[in-house]
């Protein structure tokens, strides 16, 4: 199966205001949000990108939707490089790639009615007005908001979080995209509502044959949505494997710590100390070689000298670690 989205050595730096000393030395400190990311998302796949704050997962999502440009490396979509997309071809891309937001309360313009919010992509894409009502209706049906007149004339502040997130999804689906990125789609929703939205994400993906990338810090949630998970740390992918493997047989020391740290609803769960030391280092000055080495319980001299590459160990399982 051909890959729908390909990333090759994608790098994204954010320049940082320099102190006088740094200007004097000619130094250009930057936050390396993404530091050489390479992977493919196959057509029809559901891939999760997990990691803690600062790992670059949100930046990755934005780059994949061309909301920002990479500083280095290349991203292709449907075989065509994203770098040169302008004009009509860019509009075409925008029709095919959509985003589900983290904060449903902020993802809709508070001054627009719900109908107006969902019809907007159709207006932007130049779809004939006669089709608007039907397409909006079918989008609403897909997200199980069937009684339209309860919603069309309302404003966002009149809806609950769960309903809003469904509206956000309706808006994302109204143009019939091929590719969906969901950035923490349920983290701001109440617990009893999350399950419904997650089920909806799963269902929609199946019925529409979408390729999906889910960005989340919550490994437990991601398990319900994706067959494959990428674990990121400080701008690099450290492990890329089927989700079940990540959860049951993690190979990278960071993944092991991450999995051990997730609490479960079992009062008898393990409370053993986590196999990790210290805190996340300053993103402007990550450690040389393997960026995880100052927190890794198994660090060796080689880890400081040489950055481990993402290599396949078993079928479909890639790890970036010298231990492997």
């Amino acid at each position: 199966m051909a890959a729908l989205v390909e990333l090759r050595d994608v790098v994204k730096h954010f320049p940082v205001t320099r102190s006088l000393g740094e200007i004097a030395r000619g130094a250009h400190p930057a936050v390396r949000a993404l530091d050489g990311v390479t992977f493919d998302v196959g057509n029809g796949d559901a891939v999760a990108v997990v990691g803690e704050s600062g790992c670059g997962k949100t930046t990755l999502g934005r780059l994949m939707l061309k909301l920002a440009e990479p500083t280095g490396g290349a991203i292709t979509f449907g075989g065509a490089p994203m770098a040169g997309l302008t004009g009509e071809r860019l509009r075409d891309f925008r029709r095919q790639a959509q985003l589900v937001f983290q904060n449903p309360f902020d993802a809709l313009n508070p001054r627009f009615t719900i109908y107006r919010a969902v019809v907007e992509p159709l207006i932007n894409a130049g779809i004939d007005k006669a089709e608007h009502a039907d397409r909006v209706a079918s989008a609403f049906r897909r997200v199980h908001l069937a009684d339209f007149d309860r919603y069309f004339d309302r404003y966002p502040h009149q809806l609950s979080g769960g309903q809003l997130q469904r509206v956000v999804m309706a808006r994302a689906l109204v143009l019939g995209p091929r590719f969906l990125v969901a950035d923490e789609p349920v983290s701001m929703l109440d617990v009893s509502v999350r399950a419904g939205i997650l089920a909806l994400l799963r269902e929609v993906r199946e019925t529409m044959g979408l390729t999906a990338v889910y960005i989340s810090h919550d490994l437990a949630l991601v398990r319900y949505l994706c067959e494959r998970t990428l674990v990121m740390y400080l701008g690099r992918v450290v492990e890329d494997a089927p989700t079940e493997e990540i959860v049951r047989r993690p190979r990278h020391p960071y993944t092991k710590a991450l999995v051990a740290a997730v609490p479960v609803p079992d009062p008898d769960q393990s409370r053993a100390p986590l196999p990790i030391k210290g805190n996340v280092p300053d993103a402007r000055e990550p450690p040389s070689g393997c960026s995880f080495r100052d927190r890794c319980p198994h660090a060796m001299p080689r880890c400081a000298a040489e950055t481990p590459l993402l290599r396949s160990t078993a079928s479909g399982h890639r790890v970036a670690c010298h231990l492997d």
């Binding site: 109440d190 617990v191 009893s192 609803p265 009062p267 769960q269």
Partner: protein, 335 residues
């Protein structure tokens, strides 16, 4: 019992009427134990804790019930005296409530000299102790809050709360905004505080996994009332209230084999409306006419439930494990 909350009622006066944010909630905190106060947004858990601390918003007031701390009923006057000294509070935004223009050490010293009767020297010595208790390096006392990471700021906020040696710590969502590894570290800090200082705690959270990890007892709240309470093991393994059963289904378990998350349809009631009977009825798959009456909590021993059908708890629990139960509301609920 270090803390007893008895039929507490907190009302907020809003433009659209009086919201009964807490409507007859009762629970207790045994000495030296960590009690988890769990529920979703709007259930009243934060309000209850703020009422205990006496830091309600301007439009909130205690309309009924009482709070008893160390055997003494608390009113306005006593709350003020006890606040920060014997009862400490780490609010939800504690991380961002550190003053950015003073070093963390200076803020600790100030709390101890102004509100306690420490001298500057003894306050400084105690600051070192406090940082050690929360797992922070004492050299960081000279740093400013912006030089701390999120997790470190939370530890500093906890250190400040402990400055005057309280017997009870109230923590409102202390780990919600933190990454999972840092979250685990903070939870471990709280546990060690319980062990080293025999500190009693009330932990407000929406996450039952956090409760399962840290707490000894759990109090489940819904729509301003306590629906279930008891030892964590009992409540999570054998829930007796349908809401707890539903909540349990809605939480993903990283380690379990089940791959089904079941939502609870509907949403919590509007607390400005006068409500009677069980508040969960519109969303409960087991609702029956008997649920329309007001009733007290029932149950044997420590594990109590507000469900009117408590005697059938075992049967209901088995049914609750089946996702199909939650897809249709009971006929009573629809009426």
């Amino acid at each position: 019992m270090i803390l007893e909350v008895d039929k507490l009622q907190i009302h907020y006066s809003t433009r659209d009427g009086t919201a009964r944010a807490v409507d007859g909630a009762s629970f207790t905190v045994p000495e030296g134990r960590i009690v988890g106060l769990v529920g979703e947004s709007g259930c009243g858990k934060t309000t209850a804790v703020r009422a205990i601390m006496g830091v309600l918003a301007e439009n909130g007031r205690q309309a009924g019930g009482r709070v008893v701390f160390k055997g003494q009923a608390m009113d306005e006057a006593t709350t003020r005296k006890l606040r920060w000294r014997d009862i400490a509070y780490v609010p939800q935004s504690a991380m961002s409530s550190l003053d950015p223009v003073y070093t963390v050490g200076a803020q600790l010293v100030e709390v101890m000299t102004k509100r306690g009767n420490h001298s500057r020297a003894s306050a400084r010595a105690r600051s070192v102790e406090l940082f050690d208790l929360v797992g922070l390096n004492e050299r960081r006392l000279a740093d400013y809050p912006h030089q701390f990471s999120g997790g470190m700021r939370q530890r500093a906020a906890i250190a400040m709360a402990l400055a005057l040696e309280p017997s009870l710590l109230l923590a409102d969502e202390p780990v919600t905004a933190l990454d999972v590894i840092v979250q685990r570290q903070i939870l471990d800090v709280l546990r060690s505080l319980q062990q080293r200082l025999h500190l009693s705690m009330v932990l407000v959270t929406h996450d039952i996994s956090v409760v399962a990890y840290l707490c000894d007892e759990v109090v489940v709240m819904y729509a301003g009332q306590v629906v279930e309470s008891g030892p964590v093991r009992d409540v999570l393994a054998r829930p007796r209230h349908p809401y707890t059963m539903g909540l349990r289904n809605a939480f993903p378990d990283l380690l379990s084999d089940a791959l089904e998350l079941v939502p609870i349809a509907g949403s919590p009631p509007d607390l400005r409306e006068p409500l009677s009977g069980c508040r969960f009825v519109p969303r409960c798959p087991f609702a029956q006419p008997i649920c329309g009456i007001d009733a007290a909590m029932s149950g044997n021993g420590d594990h109590r439930s507000a469900c009117r059908r408590d005697s059938e708890a075992d049967t209901l629990r088995t049914a609750a494990l089946d996702p199909r139960t939650w897809q249709r509301s009971s006929s009573f609920a629809m009426s």
